[in-house]
């Protein structure tokens, strides 16, 4: 009895395997579509991931990513011994934290404001205009800001002048550095990021608003009790994603904004890693800095994702 059972199980397994092979063969054309992509992801995403091991090795050009002598935690130690490392970490956290607490709610507020606009054409044009900055590069934004804010005939300072105020040197100014970074970040992303909230608001059942109105809720009350709960889930997901980038201050913007005058408060992990690697040629050291950054970001995502799951059953994975 047992022997025959084992045999039928064996036969079944064989049949399943053959069936799988047949399905695979039937899909051969689709594998052909996928294989170049899989190779690409291995080369351009997984090889650099493996390249992180450089942080624990002495990099040599001859050895490349795979070679090099084991160096343990030398380069991590070097970074933490570096007298500016606490400043760099602090700058990174401060800038990305400010971006999160100001840049995260801003598009939600915009979406709610836009939602209150009943004239369709007006709403649409406002939306189109608000996306505009999202589509220009950081180089353009920084060049624009330089021109607008210069004391050399820039319109902002001319306005200050006509109001009887003293001209302000905005760019390269330690006092104005963070406001400009955060301000330009919000300016560039607010419209675009509001799209998803607007779509979520549009998906709220209109009957809920009717019911709230009958209960005598004012428009502000409707927002609080209907609109905000209605976009809660998507907000949590986006917040988790936002936390994940808490260790990254936005390297493009930072690289472009920073200058010698603002070095002390503008040097962040991203820019420091690039500078140490490219300008000073300390590749293993720079990789260690980048590794530290990615690792913390990863841990942050895991932790926040877990919290999101606990609080509201919403999670990324």
């Amino acid at each position: 009895m047992e022997v025959t059972a084992a045999m039928t199980r064996e036969a079944q397994k064989n049949r399943q395997q053959r069936k799988l092979l047949r399905t695979i063969w039937k899909h051969r054309i689709f594998y052909l579509f996928v294989i170049p992509g899989v190779v690409w992801f291995i080369v351009f995403c997984y090889l650099p991931l493996y390249g992180l091991t450089l942080a624990f090795k002495d990099f040599s050009y001859a050895g490349g990513i795979f070679g090099g002598k084991y160096a343990g935690l030398t380069y991590f130690k070097q970074f933490f011994d570096y007298y500016l490392s606490t400043d760099i970490i602090r700058n990174t956290v401060v800038i990305s934290f400010l971006k999160l607490i100001i840049g995260f709610p801003a598009p939600i507020i915009l979406a709610i404001m836009l939602n209150e606009v009943k004239n369709h054409a007006f709403k649409r044009s406002l939306q189109t205009i608000s996306y505009l900055p999202y589509f220009v590069s950081w180089v353009v934004v920084v060049t624009l800001l330089n021109r607008l804010l210069t004391t050399d005939g820039g319109p902002v300072n001319e306005m200050l002048h006509s109001l009887g105020l003293k001209p302000i040197m905005f760019m390269g100014n330690v006092d104005w550095f963070y406001p400009l970074i955060i301000g330009s970040f919000v300016w560039k992303t607010i419209g675009w990021n509001s799209i998803i909230y607007l779509a979520a608001i549009a998906g709220i059942d209109p009957e809920l608003y009717e019911a709230a109105k009958i209960d005598g809720a004012s428009r502000l009350r409707q927002m609080w009790h209907v609109t905000l709960p209605g976009i809660r889930d998507i907000t949590i997901i986006l917040f988790i994603l936002g936390i994940g980038s808490l260790m990254s201050a936005g390297y493009e913007q930072m690289l472009l904004f920073k200058n010698p005058a603002t070095e002390a408060i503008g040097s962040v992990l991203d820019t420091y890693s690039i500078e140490a690697g490219i300008k000073q040629g300390r590749l293993s050291y720079a990789t260690a800095v980048g590794f530290f950054q990615s690792a913390i970001a990863f841990i942050l995502i895991l932790v926040v994702n877990r919290i999101g799951k606990k609080v509201s059953d919403v999670s990324l994975f």
């Binding site: 594998y31 493996y50 490349g64 950081w138 180089v139």
Partner: protein
């Protein structure tokens, strides 16, 4: 109807209009500045329109071989990069959208991992050197071929197409490739155009690759050139010097006026040309954005 003009509405409209002004004004100002006589602009006082209208700044931009070459590179990489990206992304996403494809979950997971954990700049930099992409035009194209989010957006879109369509096409004797080309692609215009504009814009706007992976001046794109103009003024001075020689050689009264272009006015003209194509194109795709953004947020 009076409710429409409540305090709440008025404040809301006023704030939104103010915001719209902040979004648009910088571009209006740049346009005015770039269309104004350079020397005159230095006096300040330009706010909404040019005071001494001239096309001189733009003419100088179009005469400068370095700037024109940068535009050529930018246009070439945008066209080639966007097309290749669309081809490989649609194919990849279409395969993943097949629910019967063995291993599709694994592949999805495999391409998702790099979005939460990456190697960072230095390993990537070494990789570019090893692959001989450093200082090659292909450094703009190949590393940008695939993108997880674009694949997910397309896959989700393809999955929404009713499978009955494909089944009936199969009965009519269509093969997998024919179904893809003749049934699926014609239905996917909106999602393809969204990805096309995302990719086109990201190619057009990219200065990072040109700055860190290119040292050959002939391969520098516009945004990188603009970034160099921002940090260094040599490039500008060269152009202005040439303009002044040109003005000085013609001994006409116009020539004695010599150069009316300043580095700043030239920079603003380059900035305008680097921006205008995008500003013209993106509103046409607006109606698709919501769909694209929504599909992109549906993960897993």
């Amino acid at each position: 109807m009076l409710r429409k003009f409540s305090f709440f509405s008025i404040t809301n409209y006023a704030l939104l209009l103010l915001l719209a002004f902040c979004m648009v004004y910088p571009f209006v100002y740049i346009l005015a500045y770039s269309l104004n006589d350079g020397l005159d602009s230095m006096k300040g006082g330009i706010s909404f329109w040019p005071r001494q209208f001239t096309l001189e700044n733009y003419i100088e931009v179009f005469k400068d071989p370095a700037i024109m070459n940068a535009y050529k590179i930018t246009i070439a990489r945008t066209v080639v990069g966007t097309l290749t990206h669309l081809i490989v992304t649609t194919l990849f996403a279409y395969a993943l959208s097949k629910r019967t494809l063995p291993g599709r979950n694994f592949i999805s997971f495999f391409i998702f991992i790099p979005t939460i954990f990456g190697g960072g700049f230095i390993p990537y930099f070494i990789l570019m050197q090893r692959l001989h992409l450093y200082n090659s035009f292909w450094v703009y194209i190949i590393p940008a071929l695939y993108n997880f989010f674009h694949i997910v957006v397309m896959r989700t879109f393809f999955q929404q197409i009713p499978p009955e369509l494909e089944e009936s096409a199969k009965i009519d004797g269509y093969g997998d490739v024919a179904i893809f080309l003749k049934i699926i692609l014609p239905l996917s215009g909106s999602v393809i155009s969204v990805i096309a504009i995302f990719m086109g814009v990201s190619h057009w706007n990219d200065w990072f690759t040109g700055t860190f992976f290119i040292s050959d001046k002939n391969l520098v794109p516009v945004q990188t050139l603009l970034q160099e103009m921002l940090t260094r003024s040599e490039a500008l001075l060269d152009a202005v010097k040439r303009a002044s020689q040109f003005g000085g050689n013609t001994m006409s009264p116009a020539g004695t006026q010599a150069v009316r272009i300043t580095p700043e006015s030239l920079r603003m003209a380059v900035l305008a040309i680097a921006t205008v194509p995008i500003l013209v194109i993106y509103p046409f795709f607006q109606k698709h954005f919501v769909k694209g953004a929504l599909l992109g947020s549906v993960k897993g």
